[in-house]
């Protein structure tokens, strides 16, 4: 880091736990989560705001954390894939992804889970069109989405919203 550029203090609640770190201003939220907080469940995919693998919830809304500076989360709340399971028990949506084999290689699954959580928050009983629109920021280039649709439908209406 060049001399003379002051670090910026980022105070943020991640998965219910409060953190404060002084970071370079250019630190992206995904790097902050992975490198400062060692929460490596959030993956970097395309790194250009396309694939959605890095999706987290910032103040309850899905964002691509590769395209958000860490300082934009200051004073806010972040939910990552690590915050889904409770007391060693998978979140219903995670369980549904597992049961329905809702992945291809699995690398982008954390992002799919976070977008799906957002989707079910807004549409507890989503139509096929709701599902397609809700995860449109994650369906990037491979295939095998049918099982993901299946998993989301299976989880819908089963208390798959945040906090359940």
């Amino acid at each position: 880091m060049p001399e003379g550029i002051p670090r910026v203090r980022v105070t943020v609640r991640v998965n219910g736990k409060q953190y404060a770190r002084d970071v370079e201003p250019r630190t992206l939220l995904v790097q902050f989560l992975r490198e400062e907080l060692s929460l490596t469940g959030t993956h970097i995919g395309c790194d250009t705001s396309y694939c959605g693998a890095c999706t987290v919830l910032l103040n309850g809304e899905s964002v691509k954390s590769c395209t958000v500076f860490a300082f934009q989360s200051d004073g806010g709340e972040v939910l990552t894939v690590e915050g889904l399971a409770k007391d060693g028990k998978l979140h219903p949506l995670q369980q549904a992804f597992s049961d329905c084999h809702g992945f291809q290689c699995g690398y982008c699954t954390p992002g799919f889970l976070m977008s799906s959580i957002q989707l079910l928050e807004e549409h507890p009983h989503p139509t096929e069109s709701d599902i397609r629109k809700g995860i449109a920021g994650n369906t990037c280039r491979c295939t095998g989405y049918q099982n993901i649709f299946k998993a989301i439908r299976a989880a819908a209406g089963q208390g798959a919203e945040i906090g359940d």
Binding site: P25, R26, Y50, V63, T67, F71, C140
Partner: protein, 358 residues
């Protein structure tokens, strides 16, 4: 200076490049290069395309150049901060275009003035006109009952990129960037919006058609920012629609059309606004299409003429998204869908409009 045709060709080559790398912002990188080229800074295209290719293709983490961070407390504070920091400083709104450009090292500001923590910048108010705070996110507009008073605004906001981008991206950021493929420009042009700004010399109200000058170019002066966007609510018997053709959600559209119609009665059109997006260096007003409808009954024959006029106004070039002919036809087809939906809405029908993904 290269001919307009050559510039358009280069822009679409950039889009080809983006299709290869699956990086929508790499294409923008190359587009930027072309604009700089046009302004006779010839070393830019080569360098930018190379950098974008290297970064987008490498698959490694992309870090923006180091910059100093400044959190603005108010709009006047932001304006004076940027004034003090000079040319090497930029405003940060939602960052959904600026951050990718910084990661691609196509924008390398030494200072960012963050507008996100200024209170009271995100709102939608309806009182004879619709007023949008500069930092109102696309998602807020998409879910706003007030914004839905003009369904064309909902068409636009709900169809920008994907949910994640809509949660961060702002209406004013989008207009200030003036990307030729941006969604808001044709819609705000068709609805006759006014852009309110604040700069070192005070505030200005600028009609949107005077605001956007060229690709990536507005009349905003150094240290001047947008504070509010005002959209007049239309009279009764007015309806609009905005439809884009996209290859998939997160990428820029291949073509788009915005139409706003005001009727004398159920059949005769009093006034029409028709704008074509994407297939030019800015959103393009299609006067010939408007004249076809002006004070005329909207018949299938006239709709066909509108489509022809829109196709004639398009300046498409071939790329991986399709041939020039394909895009021209797409523009015509979008115009037909947009006029039909706008007409139904002007007659008081509720019509859902969705973008086409192909």
């Amino acid at each position: 200076m290269p001919a307009r045709r050559q510039i358009l060709r280069l822009v679409t080559l950039a889009q080809d490049f983006a299709c290869c790398t699956l990086s929508p912002h790499a294409s923008k990188a190359a587009q930027f290069a072309i604009i700089f080229h046009r302004r006779e800074i010839p070393q830019w295209p080569q360098r930018s395309v190379t950098v974008a290719l290297a970064l987008a293709g490498s698959g490694v983490g992309m870090y923006p150049r180091s910059f100093a961070y400044h959190r603005a407390k108010s709009y006047p504070d932001a304006v004076s901060l940027l004034g003090e920091l000079g040319e090497d400083a930029k405003f940060l709104a939602g960052g959904q275009s600026l951050i990718p450009l910084m990661k691609l090292r196509l924008s390398t500001p030494a200072h960012l003035v963050d507008l996100n923590f200024i209170p009271g910048t995100s709102y939608i108010r309806s009182n004879g006109v619709l007023r949008f705070g500069a930092l109102t996110r696309h998602s807020e507009i998409a879910s706003s009952a007030d914004a839905a008073l003009l369904p064309i605004l909902h068409d636009c906001a709900a169809g920008i990129a994907d949910p994640q981008v809509r949660h961060m991206g702002t209406i004013a950021g989008s207009i200030a960037e003036a990307d030729p493929t941006g969604d808001w420009a044709p819609v705000l042009l068709a609805t006759g919006a006014t852009v309110k700004t604040l700069g070192p010399n005070g505030g200005r109200n600028i009609q949107i058609e005077d605001f956007i000058r060229d690709a990536y170019t507005t009349v905003l002066e150094a240290a001047e920012l947008i504070t509010e966007i005002e959209v007049p609510l239309r009279a009764e018997r007015s309806g609009g629609a905005y439809i884009a053709l996209k290859r998939c959600a997160p990428v820029y559209a291949s073509a788009s059309v915005a139409v706003q119609l005001t009727m004398n009665d159920g059949h005769s059109c009093k006034d029409a606004r028709v704008y074509l997006g994407v297939l030019g260096l800015t959103a393009t007003r299609v006067n010939a299409a408007e004249e076809v409808l002006h004070n005329q009954a909207i018949t299938p024959e006239r709709i066909a003429k509108v489509c022809e006029a829109v196709m004639a106004a398009a300046e498409p070039t071939a790329d991986m998204r399709g041939s020039a002919d394909y895009k021209r036809h797409a523009a015509g087809a979008l115009a037909r869908l947009a006029v039909e939906a706008a007409l139904k809405r002007a007659r008081g029908e509720r019509v859902e409009v969705a973008h086409l993904y192909a």
